[in-house]
């Protein structure tokens, strides 16, 4: 029974890892398809709760989901198997591809191949940058987003402060900023 569940966890997260393109966040619907629709380990509501809890913590979301769901279904072994099934196949593939490429590093065609992908990655990153700017604008308003973007640019790029410090300060500010506790927010405060 338990062994069977470990096999199912492996298959579920192996499929998510091999079929999910565009990074962790875009594979969340695939995780939902496996754990809610296919194996019925939990309902949609519980899945939503787990996703929300995952978002209260930093770091990649897909591995957090796999680790937690695996743990809930089959304990520590389940957690380990789920995470490995999700990430290991593509890490191995990545290492094989990149090390075989670097073996031919001096060949002109390999250098051309490497140079060819850079403009594409630039476009992908520019698009990602725009998504973050757009979301900032929607969430913080024009003034708020311009001030925060401008301040971050000055502090990180010109003053050369380590970005980790800037982000840690922003997170700290969000944690201690008054206004989220005392008076109820429009949606109603649900803290505590």
């Amino acid at each position: 029974m338990r062994k069977n569940q470990l096999v199912q966890l492996f298959l579920a997260f192996f499929r998510v890892g091999m079929l999910g393109y565009g990074g962790g966040p875009s594979s969340i619907p695939l995780v939902h398809g496996e754990v809610v629709d296919r194996y019925r380990w939990m309902g949609s509501e519980e899945f939503g709760d787990i996703l929300a809890i995952g978002n209260t913590l930093p770091g990649p979301i897909a591995t957090k989901m796999a680790g937690y769901i695996g743990y809930r279904i089959a304990g520590l072994a389940g957690s380990l198997i789920s995470v490995l099934a999700l990430i290991l196949p593509t890490i191995v593939l990545m290492i094989l591809l990149l090390t075989s490429l670097s073996a031919y590093k001096d060949q002109p065609w390999v250098q051309g191949l490497s140079a060819g992908v850079v403009p594409v990655v630039c476009v992908l990153l520019a698009d990602l940058t725009w998504q973050f700017v757009k979301r900032s604008w929607l969430d913080l308003g024009l003034l708020g987003s311009v001030v925060l973007i401008g301040a971050s640019l000055i502090v990180i790029s010109w003053l050369g402060v380590h970005p980790a410090i800037v982000i840690a300060l922003l997170l700290g500010f969000a944690l201690i900023k008054p206004g989220y506790n005392g008076s109820p927010t429009p949606e109603g405060s649900d803290e505590g």
Partner: protein, 176 residues
């Protein structure tokens, strides 16, 4: 101590990147390019390109490969561990507390407030990659390829994996 450096290079982005793997990309770049000098920004772009062309979570693929490149199989395991273990352990251990805060406006505020800073890091990284490409293959190739990639991926919604493979073939034939 290379193992400790690999651990820190992925632990720091892992505990600060709110909103999933993509927000950790510029933080990882800062550690592996600017801080530890393990690679150039163009080499980082190449790894990111292959990471995007393959399925699965991006952050762990990058940690797995860069860890391997710097310190072998053990380095790979350490990089991946530092990326996923801290927040996963916190999720399993602190579930009760986190359950209470899962819809808290404070949690939304954390993701919201760091987004402008991540946008800046991504923007600066994009600029540096463009400059690297411009110095390497010139303005016509760089901006011509970027324009085609933009039209295909952003406008026509062609999957990035195809565009990346296409760019590799083009680069191998034309730029080689």
């Amino acid at each position: 101590m290379i193992y400790l450096q690999v651990f820190l290079a992925f632990f720091v982005p892992g505990i600060l990147g709110y909103g999933g793997g993509p927000s950790t990309i510029p933080l990882v770049e800062y550690e592996v390019v600017s801080r530890y000098g393990w690679m150039t920004v163009s080499e980082f772009a190449e790894i990111l390109a292959l990471g995007n062309a393959l399925p699965g979570p991006i952050a762990t693929k990058m940690a797995g490969f860069i860890g391997y490149q710097q310190a072998g199989i053990l380095g790979s395991a350490i990089g991946v561990f530092a990326t996923v273990a801290p927040s996963m352990a916190a999720m399993i251990l602190l579930l009760g507390i986190l359950m209470r805060y899962r819809n808290s406006p404070r949690v939304r505020a954390m993701t919201m407030l760091i987004r402008p800073a991540i946008a800046v890091l991504l923007g600066v990284l994009t600029f540096r990659m463009f400059r690297g490409s411009y110095l390497d293959v010139g303005a016509i190739q760089t901006f011509g390829m970027a324009a085609v990639a933009f039209l295909l991926m952003v406008w026509r919604r062609v999957h990035p994996a195809y565009v990346i493979v296409g760019a590799m073939v083009y680069g191998a034939v034309v730029l080689g």
